[in-house]
């Protein structure tokens, strides 16, 4: 395995890819088995945490830049830095091979684990065997927001099309829970697909990217630079220059921006004995994140910014000149700050909380033999009021609307007119209503609304269309009765308006439902559409909706459809940052 995420290889990957043999002639990459870590590291002994300078692991990820800043732009804590202010003396050590990190953690060389929540869940059973090493999650750094991508070959139009397909991904890497979440949301399980595990994430011949270039692999989870190579720059792969003909991006973490959480966990014994120091570490991370945010926002950027990026490039990318790549790392991560930590670790109703993700991941990992399904990660239970002291914005900014609603409405209507709404579809489902039903209260649609809230929270970069459909019977009755065109036209238009009204009512009910549950959804993520009688469930007979033959068919026309759409290429719909 190599890095968690290595955009520094952007240039390297593109150049070497261009120079490499054509994909069809490349040797097949080495695949591996992925047994549970309880098997892989069964003989690793547990030791006491070493005294003295505390070793803290880093991985190659944008979130870790804040850790470096908090440490004074050095691997060893610098006087006057945020960590020094907390009374800490740390030694930052990059370790991208997760199994080695776990070994260090168990042996006591470091009390900390650094990984995605999925990675830490993979180790949870092993680490829970000894109460000393049971991991406690102390801090969320970021959400992945653009750096991790699912590429697919021709014939896979939505997530449910993955059924029966072969998918390549890195063993014990950051994409395992990404995979299982997407499958779950599409109504599939890991048993519905064939998994091909690769030892490395990127940069070698044994990666998901190389596997995807072989026949027999239909989809792969890769880092975004690799995805751009495979898809000819994020379009559709031409087959030239290491791209795969017909390949495209199904979605990235720009869309699925609440799946991959990067966190720190600590050993239980160390936390019990050193709670104040661990709290100081968490507070230092928060201060470092604020400082980094300010450095990135400053214009012009000064010497302090250059020092931070140069140190990060050296520590994370082995090159002090990789400043641009370090900035790229930063851009693919969304820092959550104090507010995000409160949501993630201390808000039970938050739809993407530690507990929620933990349950999802454990259940899914159990089905592929990576976890028992019963291990549960604990949160540190910090006093977040105390942790907010000394921060510039102790509550964090409320999430702003991500989408330009006027543009969104126009874009989805244009797609509707062109019949291309399904092109970017990731998931969809419907609710039905009764004759003469005006209201859409949450009491009637609890399960469906909860699903919408979950999907909206998980795929924050996707649009959710709420599409109303009307019963065509009134139109068909009038047509059969010989009503003139001018009347039929008005009936048709009124049906369109009515279906829009229904879609708006449903959208409003979903937002109210979420609010009642204490979840703040971004209203701009929802687009409403009224199809009128243009898309009857009963099908088309000639140019008209088919008259329903059964009561079931008749009722099926009265529906509202939810569709989760990937719109990463529609830059106009996103509000400028």
């Amino acid at each position: 395995m190599v890095s968690r995420w290595w955009p520094a290889l952007k240039g390297f990957v593109v150049v070497t890819a261009a120079l490499a043999l054509p994909a069809a002639y490349a040797a097949a990459p080495k695949t591996v088995e992925a047994p549970a870590l309880t098997t892989v590291l069964a003989r690793t002994a547990v030791g006491e945490v070493a005294a003295g300078t505390t070793q803290v692991p880093l991985i190659t990820w944008g979130g870790d830049i804040a850790t470096i800043v908090a440490n004074g732009n050095a691997t060893r804590t610098v006087r006057g830095s945020a960590f020094a202010t907390e009374g800490l003396d740390l030694n930052l050590v990059r370790e991208d091979v997760f199994t080695r990190q776990v070994e260090s953690y168990m042996s006591g060389r470091s009390p900390y684990l650094r990984g995605t929540l999925g990675m830490i869940n993979m180790a949870a059973d092993l680490l829970a065997k000894d109460p000393r090493t049971k991991p406690v999650v102390i801090y969320q750094m970021t959400w992945s927001a653009g750096g991790d991508t699912l590429v697919v070959k021709q014939g896979i139009g939505s997530a449910r099309d993955l059924k029966g397909k072969t998918i390549a991904l890195q063993a014990y890497g950051p994409h395992v829970d990404y995979l299982t979440k997407i499958l779950g949301d599409a109504g599939l399980s890991p048993a519905d697909v064939k998994l091909r595990w690769l030892p490395d994430l990127t940069g070698t011949d044994d990666t998901p990217m190389r596997a995807f270039q072989q026949a027999g692999v239909d989809a792969a989870f890769v880092i975004t630079p690799d995805a751009l190579v495979l898809t000819s720059g994020g379009t559709v792969g031409s087959g030239a220059e290491d791209s795969v003909k017909g390949a495209r991006i199904l979605l990235s973490t720009k869309t699925a921006n609440r799946i991959i959480a990067d966190v720190y966990a600590v050993r239980s014994d160390y936390l019990a004995k050193n709670r104040k120091q661990v709290e100081g570490f968490v507070h230092g991370l928060m201060v470092g994140e604020e400082k980094l945010r300010a450095l990135m926002a400053a214009k012009p950027r000064g010497a302090e910014f250059k020092a931070a990026m140069s140190a990060s490039a050296t520590i994370l990318l082995d090159s002090e000149h990789g400043v641009a790549d370090a900035e790229g790392l930063y851009g693919d991560a969304e820092f959550v700050g104090h507010r995000g930590n409160v949501e993630f670790l201390a808000t039970p109703g938050y739809p993407r909380s530690l507990d929620k993700l933990d349950a999802e991941i454990q259940g899914a990992f159990a089905s592929i033999g990576l976890a028992s399904g019963s291990a549960k990660l604990a949160a540190a239970g910090w006093d977040y009021a105390r942790l907010s002291q000394g921060l510039m914005s102790n509550s964090g900014a409320a999430e702003a609307s991500r989408f330009d609603q006027g543009q969104v409405a126009a874009v989805v209507t244009r797609k509707q007119q062109q019949g291309t709404l399904a092109d970017g579809e990731l998931f969809s489902f419907e609710i039905f209503f009764q004759p003469n039903q005006n209201g859409f209260s949450a009491d009637l649609y609890q399960e469906a609304f909860a699903k919408v809230v979950d999907l909206a929270s998980t795929y924050g970069g996707a649009l959710i269309t709420v599409e109303g459909h009307s019963d065509p019977m009134a139109y068909l009755r009038d047509k059969k009765a010989g009503k003139p065109d001018v009347v039929l036209g008005q009936v048709k238009q009124a049906a369109k308006n009515l279906s829009l009204s229904r879609a708006v009512a449903v959208r409003d009910s979903v937002l109210a439902y979420a609010q009642a549950k204490g979840v703040s959804l971004d209203a701009s993520q929802f687009a409403v559409i009224g199809h009128g009688i243009a898309n009857p469930k009963s099908g088309l007979c000639g140019g008209d909706p088919c008259p329903p033959k059964t009561e079931r068919e008749w009722r099926d026309n009265m529906r509202v459809q939810f569709r989760i759409i990937q719109v990463e290429a529609e830059s106009s719909v996103f509000k400028p940052l």
Partner: protein, 286 residues
């Protein structure tokens, strides 16, 4: 003065020589222009050009009859709905008033000039249009054809004032005026993403003048491409007007001031409010 041709269909059948003369006269006007001041303004030409563009590229069939067609207006990149993202379902009424020279006449208007009767009836109509509906006005008169007040709400006083300023004279550019109004309604529909309802209300006492202003193609384009409802109030025209296309458009022959007011009143009555029950009648079960 405009050249009116009442009941052209019948006269053509019975007086072939007269038809020949009229056609010859129309040809003369086409090539040498009219003595009436009926030149189309630039805006109308542009509207005509846009109306015949890609947006209306399928002038065959009838939009209303194609139950599953839902492609009006064709949206362009850059079109955007209201900032709220909720498209408006506002009703829209675009009125076109004939201010041609013949509107000076006093036939079938109780001795008053027809324009006076029409303005009076339209004033009452405007008051009856729901205040939340968009209303706009175009006129063809001595100043040519142009939009006098753009579609909007809160513009009723401006429309009343514009009506009082109509200066009768000139021809009857029915085609251009329908194209202009259709263009304005289409533009508004882009803002509403096609939701709402759209009505073109034409009050005229004449036949197309010059002949190239025959509105048949413009009406066909409108009917084939959109859900816009065309209402024509034929003032002192009887039933046999080119715009009287039963079943396809609403046409009211108004032969008195009272009938003119009733005809305008029916425009609002002909835009029925549908509720959920219209579409979900349990008795509609198969």
């Amino acid at each position: 003065m405009a050249n009116k041709h009442p009941r052209r269909g019948k006269t053509a059948g019975r007086f072939g020589w007269l038809l020949f003369a009229l056609l010859a006269y129309a040809g003369y006007k086409h090539y040498f222009g009219s003595d009436d001041k009926e030149a189309k303004p630039a805006g109308a030409e542009q509207a005509a050009d846009e109306s015949s563009g890609d947006d209306n590229a399928s002038p065959q069939g009838v939009y209303a009859e194609a139950a599953v067609r839902d492609d009006w207006p064709k949206l362009r990149s850059g079109d955007a709905a209201a900032a709220s993202g909720i498209p408006a379902t506002t009703s829209n009424y675009y009125v076109v008033l004939d201010g041609s020279g013949s509107m000076r006449r006093v036939d079938c208007s109780d001795g008053q000039p027809k324009i006076q009767v029409a303005v009076s009836a339209l004033s009452r109509f405007i008051e009856a249009v729901p205040e939340q509906a968009n209303l706009g006005l175009a006129v063809f008169d001595d100043a040519g054809l142009s939009e006098r007040v753009a579609l909007g709400v809160g513009n009723r006083d401006a429309i009343q004032q514009a009506l009082r300023k109509v200066d009768v004279n000139g021809g009857t550019p029915l085609k251009s005026s329908i194209e202009l109004a259709y263009d304005k309604l289409t533009t508004q529909a882009r803002q509403q993403l096609g939701y709402g309802d759209y009505h073109l209300v034409l009050v005229t006492d004449g036949y197309p003048d010059p002949q190239r202003e025959d509105p048949a193609d413009a009406v066909q384009t409108l009917l084939a491409s959109s859900p816009v409802v065309l209402h024509t109030i034929g003032f002192c025209l009887g039933e046999e007007h080119v715009l009287n296309q039963p079943g396809r458009v609403y046409y009211t022959a108004a032969d008195s001031p009272e009938q003119l007011s009733q005809g305008l009143g029916s425009v609002l009555a002909e835009a029925p409010a549908f509720d959920v029950g219209n579409f979900q009648d349990p008795e509609a079960q198969p």
